[in-house]
């Protein structure tokens, strides 16, 4: 017992905890996908017409934005492993900007719908029938819940970036950066399914 024990650290356990949390997120969105499938099956015509009103162009742009941001946060880990702190922070900065760009697009997209009086609880939407109310209810809830995850992910990444600046996260101890990356990729993963379901399948 000549050496003083180092502070206990278990990276594998840390990642396991993160993955367990991600599983609950997958089940949460999985449940919503089931609700979507069943309502679509019951109201095929209304869902078909309503889905045509969404902008495939904005949806595609946002998909590409999230895919690029996923690659930049992944490269940020590589940079930190190679002890290149500045490059790692640059990649995180790009990821944050891309996340904000996604939210700005969402703002304009939602703004357009709301200007046309299409939002949950809108009397104009209610007049269009039950199927439309269900489609737009799910659309706003699921993309809204996803956007909320983007905001949480951005806050998470900012906290991680500050910790890297203060070298609390460094090339020897970076499991928290990996965990923030896992969360961000999950948000991307959910969008990979939301995009075809709402925008592409009409």
């Amino acid at each position: 017992m000549s050496t003083v024990a180092a502070a206990h650290r278990d990276d594998l356990a840390s990642k396991t905890g993160m993955w367990l949390f991600l599983f609950t997120e997958m089940l949460l969105f999985g449940g919503l996908f089931i609700v979507y499938s069943v309502y679509r099956y019951i109201n095929p015509v209304a869902f078909h017409l309503a889905a045509k009103e969404l902008s495939v162009f904005i949806g595609t742009i946002n998909t590409v934005i999230l895919l690029v941001s996923s690659s930049t946060i992944a490269m940020s880990i590589t940079a930190l492993q190679k002890k290149n702190k500045k490059l790692s922070l640059l990649f995180l900065g790009i990821t944050i900007l891309l996340g904000l760009a996604f939210l700005v697009n969402k703002y304009f997209e939602w703004g357009e719908h709301i200007r046309e009086h299409i939002y949950p609880g809108s009397p104009v939407l209610a007049l269009r029938g039950h199927g439309d109310v269900l489609f737009y209810g799910l659309y706003f809830f699921m993309t809204g819940l996803h956007a909320l995850h983007i905001i949480v992910g951005l806050v998470f990444i900012i906290i991680i970036a500050v910790a890297i600046i203060k070298t609390r996260i460094n090339s020897e101890d970076y499991v928290l950066l990996e965990n923030s990356g896992l969360y961000w990729h999950l948000v991307d993963l959910i969008w990979i399914f939301l995009f075809p379901l709402f925008y592409l399948i009409t």
Binding site: I34, V38, L197
Partner: protein, 97 residues
Amino acid sequence: MKSIENDKNHIIPYRTFLYVLAVLIALTLTSVTLTQISLGTLTVAIALIIAAVKSSFVLRIFMHLKFENKMFSRAVIGVILLLCAVITITLLDYLNR
């Protein structure tokens, strides 16, 4: 594969991520193009298959599953199977009412 399986400091080169990104964007554009053409019920299948392929790239490369302890991959497969089972059983119920 075995040698890097338990190496927690495995460094993935930048170019790997760039290649994967290129593939993911190409798959996205393919999906958009194919679903704009009217293919009937095939559209749903094509869109979901492409989404599944994209997910496997994100999970394996971006989320490092290919290089991590195998426990993670097994658990992820387990959750995906559970989701598929719940979706299938629910739809079987609705389709046969």
